[in-house]
Symmetry: C2
């Protein structure tokens, strides 16, 4: 008999009512007496499980009733709707095969575990309610991102992971090498001879795919990257990981307004897609992880995002009665406390802050006519603070060269990036979304280690 | 006026006929006389461009007629259908703004360039017909993969890129480190003290996400990974890159037959999706790159894949009149020449070869009852050879432990992988698809360097 997936039964229980079906999965809970027992079976396809009723007429009843949590079984029986019970239906088993037994040493017994403990069994935690919900949402949000951009005819571009320079100046890089560390060959000046390394030069892990993506935007107009990025920063916070995924669209013939429009549309699309396709999971988060979640997501999905300039933001913050840990002056970067004040207390919805001082933003951002600010935008959202950072890119060759000099970067490293400004440059823009940030936002989970399957952080690369 | 995308015009030219529209893009070719000129404009959204007619009534006509290839312009004018001409329509310009000029030094002039040369300008090559087609197909194939699995409710899992051991034994790894190579700290035994490294232990770049994906399959039933993988192998061939993308589904409660069914369905889905959504590109490849392409793809999309065992394959090869470079005996691995003979000469369609000798396959593959072979499968396709490798996984704890010992691997490194066999193990299977292989297959491109935006190979990590 063909196996029926629990997700299908939830989608159309009337269809399966009183039919004989076969399901298979893992035992989440089990209770019983001498004559009958109830097993909550989760088959992995749906957040909720199915109740299996077993009676002592089954020849292996005694074995079944003793099965440990997480044992895998295959159940044949009749599906019966149970409109008066807590669960909508149950399966009355006529045969139960044991596919794989678990033991009492199973580390994920049915009791409350701390998230810290569950990180030590990251290979098993997706079998719990919380992490099954987190990682299904992560999968759905990934797909929503692809769907959003592909429906708009954006070209998905796999930018390189191994790169030759920290081209963006965005952060500390990991080195990638095949050099024998015990026996590093030095050249005559006493420097490491990277000519002998695998790629024949010094290489590291990418911190951003943006610059490479820009080259493709000048061919395909609208492109996006979605892949892993890395920061070798010793920041042991709940919001930083050494390995995380980023989404980076780049759009040609577009300015900062177009960029913000795209970011707003994308955010709303992702939220709506996840709310539509992970109803049970979002309900669970709203109930057990973050009580205001559902309201907040609904609010964001339906509100027009606010837009203010950095200069206006500074004025608001200076007038605020709130005591901030970090004092704020025009020219200093906004801290999370400032960002959250603006988005939560002042506007209570997502806010784009634009036109930051040029000295606190990257070299590639377009210089405004005031010569003091750049056409940057950060999107701040309630509960998180900054979730997206973007800008219109400097498309003018002379200005870009000046900025590269101001930042004391080596223009030769950017020959190909500068080429884009020589051979048919266009107004263009883009942004980066830290993918884990939006998963935290969608789930209410407050530690980045709990939204990455096997997180990599300072001194930790388990599994 | 809102900008109209060239893709939209091709989709519904009647709608735009005789309307005033605005388009923007880059000049691909240009020719003219004193009084009028023709510009072929590509706006990045569609393989084909649009013809722009300019006349000397335009005040900047003289400038326009001299614009170099790849200059960016914004054109306003009337769309006119041209049923008798080569191109289906043209735009009669009433205004042309120059967005960004190119120069005569533009390295991608309108003439035949070798693919080797174009690799040296990888930042510009997507502006050529061939590479615009390759990288749009790559984007569409990526999306087809996500769509295929998501429609089947598979959970997309981001398995880690930085890993602690070459868990699969699949190949040479790159080291990831923040240790100062000039000043490597050694411990008292004279070994590198990885305790001082970023992650506190020796780390490298993943060669496969399979083992990690298996942990998620035991929670979600059906999962897939799709991400970059790395091999530090000095193989300077047209088929190997140091950095490439892999698709790896893992399915629980499933055997080798289910695995082959999934692989066949996926292959057909990807091919059909790309043929439906990149008609112009596939036609181009069929005409200029690989004359048999369209027939081959159509054939594969519509044929039932063949299944033979490795032992049968050996018999066929031994009987073959073909002279092979590598002699073939039961127990030796199939070489590309053997694979291609089977799929091209014998069956002329895709062929699954199953049940390979256990000694030439990985430790995690399920041992067959004959104790000599494992439940492995390779999918061979005409024109390429092996494109997919998969297996039913060994779900029995004792057998898996024996195999780990036989392969002289350290069981402690696999504690979490072995846990899956202790706590509710299930029959399960999976496979890996080298993503670049299928792009080569879909486009007829014969060098992997030409289907990766910025390829990383031995001694080469440019851009």
């Amino acid at each position: 008999m063909k196996t029926t997936l629990v997700r299908e039964i939830y989608k159309d229980k009337e269809f399966y009512s009183h039919k004989e079906i076969k399901v298979s999965g893992w035992i989440r809970t089990s209770r019983g007496s001498k004559n009958f027992g109830f097993i909550e079976l989760n088959d992995g396809t749906f957040f909720k499980g199915i109740q299996v009723v077993i009676g002592n007429e089954l020849e292996n009843f005694k074995e079944l009733i003793k099965l440990s949590i997480s044992s895998a079984i295959v159940v044949t029986g009749k599906l019966v709707l149970t409109p008066d019970a807590k669960q909508p239906f149950e399966i009355q088993a006529t045969e139960v095969e044991i596919e794989g037994e678990s033991t009492n040493e199973y580390p994920l017994q049915k009791k409350r575990h701390t998230f810290e403990y569950l990180r030590t069994i990251a290979h098993l935690r997706p079998r719990s309610n919380t992490f099954s919900a987190v990682f299904r949402v992560r999968s759905l949000a990934s797909y929503a991102i692809h769907k959003f951009f592909q429906e708009r005819n954006f070209v998905y571009t796999h930018t390189p992971i191994v790169t030759t320079s920290d081209a963006e100046g965005a952060g500390e890089m990991f080195r990638v090498t095949t050099i024998d560390l015990k026996n590093t060959a030095l050249d005559e000046d006493g420097n490491v001879d990277y000519g002998l390394d695998f790629f024949g030069k010094e290489t590291g892990l990418t911190v951003s795919g943006q610059l490479a993506a820009e080259t493709y935007a000048q061919a395909f107009r609208n492109v996006y990257t979605f892949g892993p990025t890395f920061r070798a920063e010793n920041s042991n916070t709940p919001r930083h990981a050494a390995e995380f995924w980023m989404v980076e669209p780049e759009i040609a013939f577009a300015d900062l307004q177009d960029d913000m429009k795209l970011a707003e549309d994308m955010m709303k699309y992702i939220i709506k897609y996840v709310m539509d396709n992970a109803k049970e999971e979002i309900e669970f988060f709203n109930k057990f992880i973050d009580k205001g979640l559902l309201d907040r997501l609904t609010n964001v999905a339906n509100s027009d995002f606010e837009k203010i300039t950095y200069t206006e933001a500074i004025e608001i913050l200076k007038k605020a009665k709130e005591k901030f840990e970090f004092p704020i002056e025009w020219g200093s970067d906004l801290q999370t406390e400032h960002e959250r004040y603006i988005t939560e207390k002042v506007f209570n919805k997502p806010v784009f802050v634009t036109d930051y001082p040029k000295d606190i933003k990257a070299f590639y951002m377009r210089l405004n006519d005031d010569n003091k600010t750049v056409a940057a935008m950060d999107l701040l959202v309630p509960g998180v603070g900054e979730i997206i950072g973007g800008s219109q890119r400097e498309e003018r060759l002379d200005k870009l060269e000046e900025r590269i000099e101001e930042f004391e970067l080596n223009a030769e490293d950017y020959w190909w990036y500068l080429d884009l400004r020589k051979y048919g440059t266009t107004k263009h823009a883009g942004f980066g979304l830290g993918f884990e940030r939006i998963i935290m936002y969608l789930t209410g989970m407050s530690n980045i280690r709990d939204v990455i399957s096997f997180p990599r952080t300072t001194k930790s690369a388990e599994f």
